[in-house]
């Protein structure tokens, strides 16, 4: 970056060289740059650029300094978008350029501790990451120079936990940094093909850490199976009653409920509302997708199985029908489970009876609330990949049509009814077969 008269400029050749074949030719009047098969013609001290026969205007004049072509930083995003023929996002403040839709999103959740074990922060990323990690007293810094990490909805994530209190997201000088703030020295472990980072107190400290009470009462049917996707040989306690999966997201819009309303947006807003309602009933809840994020079905199943919830709730919206449809998995043909390995396509098989029990309880409670309910099975992934009770909830529109699915009143009413019904499920699921 070069400061010229208070205006930031960048060398265009340096930006494009890592991305393709670039050559430059200078004649008396023009500075000509060829990127792959595209020719750009710049005139020094003028804003107008010719790009393959059409005009493009820079926000400030193009500068030629010692043969080096400089363009204003504020025009870099739109200019690269024209040259690369695709979406380019440029953040001048952090000096980060994202070419195409490559953003990596992440979620961060504390897995509350059992008596005698330290709390763990589990960060799941939508793609493999490779940060540089440094520790500083009770802080752990992860610097992402080449990973296109983007900010969560709030830059400071606060956890209601003394041992790991917050995660702070910052961007600057071409990198993103996440700082984890703890009460003692922390360390990080990678797993799940570098898509999961688990942060906990360093072992020496963890051994001395005071025992903390569990975040919630033991759940019916709770197990303390190890979480292989998170840390090898480190048993993680059951922390969540429910995992909510707001279906679709990112490039996957789901159903077009109206010409302006996508299913992915309604499932997200409803998922947030349902999480709040469940938490208010004392049911600890993890929302898998808390933004417009692309998560594959396998990722959703992997994240859920790693969290070991009592129940997985997958949210969908319908453009017709009435009331609520509840589904359990329609297991596909085949699937051989041998020794300790579960077949991925039929991983739900051993939990299907429990899913059906939970479904029956949920349907009964909703029916008692005078909400029309229909129950059936469905060939709907990732239900069949989940290793705990798993139910899909499809909500039909109110009487005023699919547009009403996004109304606050309708969503609140449905979320409240489902949360009440889930309390009933929690009270009774333990005695169910």
């Amino acid at each position: 970056m070069v400061d010229v008269g208070g205006q930031e400029y960048s060398g265009l050749l340096e930006v494009l060289e890592p991305l393709g074949r670039v050559s430059v030719k200078t004649d008396n009047k023009y500075w000509k740059l060829r990127y792959n098969d595209l020719e750009l013609e710049f005139t020094p001290n003028e804003t107008r650029v010719r790009i393959k026969g059409s005009n493009f205007d820079l926000s400030s004049p193009f500068l030629l300094q010692n043969g080096r072509g400089l363009v204003p930083v504020s025009s870099l995003g739109p200019l690269l978008s024209r040259v690369l023929r695709g979406p380019v996002t440029f953040n001048p403040a952090s000096r980060r350029i994202f070419i195409d839709n490559v953003a990596v999103h992440f979620t961060a959740q504390i897995l509350s501790s059992q008596v005698g074990t330290a709390p763990t922060l589990v960060m799941n990323f939508s793609a493999p990451v490779n940060p540089t990690i440094a520790t500083d007293a009770s802080k752990l810094h992860m610097s992402f120079v080449h990973d296109p990490i983007v900010s969560p909805s709030t830059q400071t994530l606060t956890f209601n936990n003394q041992a790991i209190s917050s995660a702070i997201y910052e961007e600057g000088n071409g990198a993103a940094e996440i700082t984890i703030v703890g009460a003692s020295p922390l360390f990080a472990k990678f797993s799940n093909d570098r898509k999961t980072i688990t942060i906990a107190a360093a072992p020496a400290v963890a051994a001395q850490a005071p025992a903390q009470p569990p975040a919630s009462a033991p759940m019916p049917g709770a197990t303390t199976a190890p979480a292989p996707a998170v840390a090898q040989g480190n048993p993680l306690p059951l922390a969540y009653f429910a995992v909510i999966d707001a279906s679709h997201g990112g490039d996957d819009r789901g159903a077009a409920l109206t010409s302006q309303l996508d299913e992915k947006d309604v499932t997200l807003s409803f998922g947030r509302r349902l999480r709040q309602e469940l938490e208010s009933h004392g049911l600890t809840t993890l929302l898998l997708r808390d933004g417009d994020t692309s998560l594959s079905l396998d990722q959703r199943a992997g994240m859920t199985n790693a969290a070991h919830p009592v129940i997985y709730l997958c949210l969908h919206m319908a453009s017709q029908g009435n009331g609520i449809h509840l589904y359990t998995a329609l297991l596909p043909s085949g699937g051989a489970t041998s020794h300790s390995f579960l077949d991925w396509d039929t991983a739900q098989a051993s939990s299907l009876a429990r899913s059906q029990s939970a479904l029956a309880l949920l349907a009964k409670a909703l029916d008692d609330s005078k909400i029309p309910v229909r129950t059936m099975s469905a060939p709907l992934r990732p239900l069949n990949n989940i290793t705990t009770a798993a139910i899909a909830i499809e909500i039909s529109p109110p009487s005023n049509g699919p547009a009403g699915l996004s109304s606050t009143e309708y969503q609140q009413s449905m979320a409240s009814s489902i949360a009440n019904a889930m309390s009933f499920v929690r009270r009774n699921l333990g005695s169910a077969p």
């Binding site: 789901g254 299913e263 453009s319 589904y327 329609l330 596909p332 029309p372 099975s377 060939p379």
Partner: protein, 204 residues
């Protein structure tokens, strides 16, 4: 003195009748030609190109989806079916899809929806290859997609003995879902789908 010869009356009537017949024939031919010329373009066949099946009809059961009620209905039909097992399977689903692309359909599919091929692979596997217009034009939703899949699998297995598993392809290639929900990556077990079809035949 020359006396005039009278033309017999019956001959006059005969000639008049022949002239009238010739005139009416001319008018009929002219009108028929004009009608044929005027309707020439609209006679072009827009549907799928497939040899018509002829021969005696057979009783079959098609499982027809109804979106408004959210159910599947077992409906008896009599349709001509070829003798080959694979051709019978194709003809069955072709008849089912024709119901769905009709204007008054209870479960409408997008225009151009077709079953391209069905491959019957021993032992018991049927591969249904639908075209991309079918999948791309399909409405998105858990129930509406489930009705389509169940309707096709149940219709096939109920009428073609020996089919135990069904796999869907789109334009000959695997696809993750039909329209965002119904799984197309896995093999459908006919027994499991039959249970689902029974559930779907009960009005909620």
């Amino acid at each position: 003195m020359i006396s005039g010869t009278r033309i017999p009356r019956n001959l006059l009537f005969g000639v008049a009748a022949m002239v009238a017949i010739a005139a009416s024939m001319t008018i009929y031919v002219w009108k028929t030609r004009a009608r044929a010329a005027g309707t020439g373009e609209s006679m072009t066949f827009q549907g799928p190109v497939a040899p018509p099946v002829s021969g005696p009809t057979e009783p079959v059961t098609l499982y027809v989806a109804d979106d408004d009620a959210g159910i599947l209905r077992a409906q008896p039909f009599k349709i001509p079916l070829p003798s080959g097992r694979q051709q019978r399977a194709e003809e069955l689903l072709r008849n089912l899809i024709e119901l769905y692309i009709a204007k008054s359909s209870s479960h409408s599919l997008g225009p151009g929806s077709e079953v391209r091929d069905i491959y019957l692979v021993d032992p018991g596997l049927a591969v249904i290859d639908i075209n991309s217009a079918f999948a791309d034009g399909h409405r998105s939703g858990v129930l509406v997609e489930e009705l389509t899949v169940t309707s096709m699998v149940e219709t096939l297995s109920a009428n073609i003995p020996g089919v135990t598993r069904v796999k869907f392809l789109v334009d000959g290639k695997p696809r993750e879902t039909l329209a965002g929900h119904a799984d197309l990556t896995s093999f459908y077990d006919v027994g499991t789908v039959h249970q689902l079809a029974t559930e779907l035949q009960n009005r909620p």
